[in-house]
Amino acid sequence: MQAQESYTPQWHDVCHEDDLVTNSGVCALIGEEQVAIFRIVNGEGTQYFAISNWDPIGEANVLYRGIVGSLGGKTVVASPLYKEHYELATGTCLERDDVSVNAYPVRVDAQRVLIEL
């Protein structure tokens, strides 16, 4: 925990915008961390999200392979293993208060996808 406090996040260039899949996810490896990246296109325009790829309940690296959608106004991904929903913006698990995953800032710059971690 302490190690993390002194760690300054950096922006990592991970892929071209075309590598993303609309309304679905892909996964990038940044150091040791697997990051699930989603591009959501709907009436409100295009949004990008990044959360940890580790499913803390199913205990496997699979979140990028889940179905995305909305629940009560929140944009979520459903874990492909046991179907819990994680809010993409924050990483909170809607079914379990005690569970969440990391959420990371994303931006797209000159068609490159950047993640801050």
Binding site: V62, L71, G73, A78
Partner: protein, 832 residues
């Protein structure tokens, strides 16, 4: 644990006071109940019940490594080992207990350990890594849990018990014996009636334990779990009233002999009893808070019933398990082959349950516990409560419980509390959990809680909406009609016209399935892809570690030697686990997502097609060998099975569909257990419909007899298409038919007599599906775009480091967490 519960309750009571917590350990309270999960990879943080930040928010002054060495009752001061001292108005002792280590010479050697704290577990892990054999001394509840931990760490594990049976506190002799048999089957050796005399140096192992009967056992590690003793030194040194065999004496308010000092949890002795479980400790904490804050409630003893799963063996014990009540009446059920033993103890008048022992099957536990706790009158034939259900077992509905009935004993939540919470606005199990804490402790009451919540909601007329989900106010059948009639071809269009929001993991796959049933486009077309469940997206079944299984179609179960060899070669090349399925084909497990295209390319080139094991679609048509070889066969069941499988393969439906074809009435293909069953007769085929195995088996109904080949196919076309159009999402044919008004007869009218005049349309739709069939895997490996999805990382060729295998019976299997952690036996994932 209990001390923390006390603090929590006190803060909740909003009583104005200043609280200091002095913890002898290097951390704040953590959950010992789940201590063993530490071996499965849980960390100290996962087990923590609170954090310094939370205590700070509550205004609680919390100190760790703060062991109290002295209490001055006159000056009202406690002093720490470090010399620091604190004044108090009221003092709460929640010092718990410590493991008892029998005074055996040699018990103080480095690999002689106990099981109580996180530090103990760390020591056990470290010692296990250098040991081959481990012994647990003590065959009680904790001892067996400890044995499980040693076994999972890969040690040859023994349990040595002084008494003649295991779990002597909770189980009777027969129950203990049955448990022993079960546990030995799992590879843990149990030695009862063994008293250890000394621990000396071993010959083959680190130590040798010599028993009083002259026998001995060699081991590298010894774990003592021979009971607990209250940590009551402070009570003793400050001369509080003590029990003869230890424990600080308390009254119903949990006060000790000094009215300003309370004792709660495992250090306290109430009515000459120490309670070694959390729930009674929590009850004491609540009683103490109530007394301190002028609230109501006192400690009046606690129920010691337990239900647990030891190494996968279910064990339960309720109330008077040992039949100590004079005149009590006993019923027993013993099924030795299945390892199930149940005992029911009734009061002398045979009206109430006062105790029970359950080994091997605790499915009756919740019901029995409710009978016991709430003194509900037993049914006329009380034995029915423990006999295996032959149809109508009396189930205790939520309605049978009174408002005072305890639902969750960990947090003392009654049915009345739940009713209040619902009246206060809770409208789901989740809400009720949040409001009452019910089912957030051991979790044992989860099923009952759901039962009560559902039944209460129903009573309040909370209508279970038929809408498929929050995005569409339609049933699946209505969506099907909309898509077909309006010619809708994409989810976005459907959502725009008829839905709200973005869709979810319920409506998206349902819509994807309907698009496939109606239009039968390639399932990974760009607009459909985000709709599919991950199994459909990756055209394989996701396994628990995120790898996939591969099931090529083997129509009718018929396979050439060359194809068998190819399967073997592919499995070997990619190092896949290979198993024959229950559906007459072969499953290859453990493929990483990036390996799938290569594997399928090899299979497709060799003439295989996808088996749709991942899809809600036709799975298999099972066959028996039939008239070609079998001396009793009257028709060629294999050819029929292959033809049917090839006709309906790829048909996407509300749920999976299974067929079988038998060559005569001996029915070796088990066709009457399938959605579509075909049995040969002298004159043709008998058609059975709407059967299944699985969770709720149902025999198929005889639908029509002595059909020729063409009529058989025609009827099956119509039945399946009608089902596909009208069934609910995830409804199998059996449930669908039972819900059709008119049932089987109605279905016969629609299909055989064409009473709705839709037979032609149904057949034409089926013909379209058959004509547009494509092997999804073939299309996928030919499409560079589709292949892009089959990679773990967009920015790296690396593979998922969490996927690790070990070898078992000459094949791979996923490594357990402990194995991954130790990193020892894991075979590295080969990159092919």
């Amino acid at each position: 644990m209990v001390g923390h519960h006390f603090v929590e309750q006190l803060i909740n009571s909003q009583h104005d006071c200043h609280v200091t917590v002095l913890s002898g350990e290097g951390r704040l309270a953590y959950d010992r109940v789940y201590l063993s999960s530490y071996f499965a990879g849980k960390t100290a943080e996962d087990l923590a019940m609170t954090t310094p930040e939370t205590y700070q928010e509550w205004g609680v002054d919390a100190r760790t490594n703060a062991r109290v060495s002295d209490i001055d009752r006159v000056a009202k001061i406690v002093t720490l080992e470090s010399g620091e001292s604190f004044e108090y108005d009221k003092l709460i002792l929640a010092t718990g207990s410590y493991p008892f280590v029998p005074p055996i010479p040699g018990n103080d050697q480095p690999h002689c350990l106990v099981y109580r704290t996180i530090e103990d577990l760390e020591a056990i892990s470290a010692s296990s890594a250098q040991s081959k054999v481990g012994v647990v001394v003590g065959g009680g509840l904790l001892g067996l849990e400890a044995a499980n931990a040693l076994k999972q760490a890969g040690l040859e594990t023994h349990v040595v018990e002084f008494a003649p049976q295991l779990m002597a506190v909770q189980l009777d002799m027969m129950g203990g014996e049955q448990l022993k048999v079960k546990i030995e089957e799992l590879g843990v050796q149990v030695h009862t009636q063994k008293a250890t005399q000394e621990i000396v140096a071993g010959e083959n192992c680190r130590y040798r334990m010599n028993f009083s009967d002259g026998s001995y056992l060699e081991t590298d590690l010894i774990l003592f779990s021979a009971g607990i003793r209250p940590s009551d030194q402070l009570g003793r040194s400050s001369e509080l009233a003590m029990g003869e065999r230890g424990g600080i004496v308390i009254n119903n308010q949990c006060q000790t002999s000094d009215s300003d000092i309370y004792a709660i949890g495992e250090c306290a002795l109430w009515d000459n009893r120490i309670y070694g479980l959390v729930a009674p400790g929590y009850a004491m904490a609540r009683a103490a808070v109530a007394h301190l804050t002028g609230g109501e409630g006192e400690f009046a003893g606690a129920d010691m019933s337990t239900k647990l799963k030891l190494m996968g063996v279910e064990v339960g014990s309720i109330g008077d398990a040992h039949v100590r009540t004079p005149g009590a009446q006993v019923y027993t059920y013993h099924n030795q082959p299945d390892g199930v033993y149940k005992k029911l103890v009734l009061d002398p008048t045979k009206t109430h349950v006062i105790g029970a022992v359950l080994v091997g099957d605790t499915s009756d536990y919740d019901t029995l516990l409710q009978y016991a706790l709430n003194e509900i009158a037993v049914p006329e034939a009380p034995e029915s409560l423990i006999l295996p259900s032959s149809g109508e077992a009396p189930v205790l509905g939520a309605d049978a419980l009174g408002d005072s009935a305890t639902i969750c004993s960990c947090y003392n939540v009654s049915k009345g509390d739940i009713v209040n919470a619902i009246d206060g606005g809770c409208c789901s199990v989740g809400d009720v959990k949040g409001a009452t804490s019910a089912s957030t402790g051991c979790g044992g009451c989860a099923a009952l809680l759901k039962n009560v919540v559902d039944s209460e909601l129903e009573k309040r007329g909370v209508e279970v909406s038929k809408a498929i989900c929050e995005h569409f106010n339609f049933t699946r059948q209505e969506l099907y009609h909309l898509i077909q009639v309006e010619g809708i071809k994409s989810f976005n269009e459907l959502l725009e016209k008829h839905g709200t929001g973005m869709g979810c993991d319920i409506c998206k796959p349902a819509a994807g399935s309907i698009f496939a049933s109606v239009w039968n486009d390639y399932i990974l077309q760009q607009q459909h892809q985000p709709l599919q469940d991950t199994n459909d997206t990756y055209l394989g079944n996701m396994q628990k570690d995120g790898t996939y299984s591969i099931v090529p179609r083997v129509a009718g179960g018929e396979i050439t030697p060359d194809k068998l060899i190819l399967l073997g070669e592919v499995a070997k090349k990619y190092n896949l686990y290979t198993k024959i399925t229950g559906g007459q084909r072969i499953d290859l497990f453990g493929a990483r997502v990036d390996q799938l295209p290569g594997i399928w390319e090899a299979l497709v080139t060799g003439g295989f097609e996808t088996g749709h094991a991942y899809a809600k679609a036709l799975r298999t048509v099972k066959s028996c060998v039939g008239s070609t070889w079998c001396r009793y066969g009257v028709q060629d069941s294999v050819t029929m099975a292959i033809d049917l499988e090839n006709r309906y393969k790829g048909l996407r439906a509300p749920h999976k569909i299974k067929f079988a074809v038998s060559g005569c009435t001996r029915e070796c293909a088990e066709a009457q257990g399938k959605d579509i069953g075909v049995i040969a007769t002298e004159n043709g085929w008998n058609l059975y419909v709407c059967g299944n195995g699985g969770m709720k088996p149902r025999h198929a109904d005889l639908f029509a007899t002595d059909l020729d080949d063409a009529t058989l196919v025609k009827y099956i076309d119509r039945v399946l298409m009608f089902y596909t159009k009208t069934a609910d999402r995830l409804q199998r044919t059996s449930v669908w038919m039972e819900n059709l008004e008119g049932g089987l007869e109605y279905l016969q009218q629609v299909v055989i007599e064409d009473s709705l005049g839709i037979a032609d349309e149904l057949e034409a739709q089926m013909q379209l599906i058959t004509d547009t069939y494509q092997c999804e895997w073939k299309t996928t490996i030919e499409s560079p775009d589709a292949l892009k999805r089959f990679r773990q990382f967009v920015n790296s060729e690396a593979t998922d480091s969490n996927i690790q295998f070990v070898t078992e019976r000459d094949q791979i299997r996923p490594a357990t967490k402990a194995e991954k952690f130790s990193g020892e036996k894991a075979i590295p994932v080969e990159i092919v």
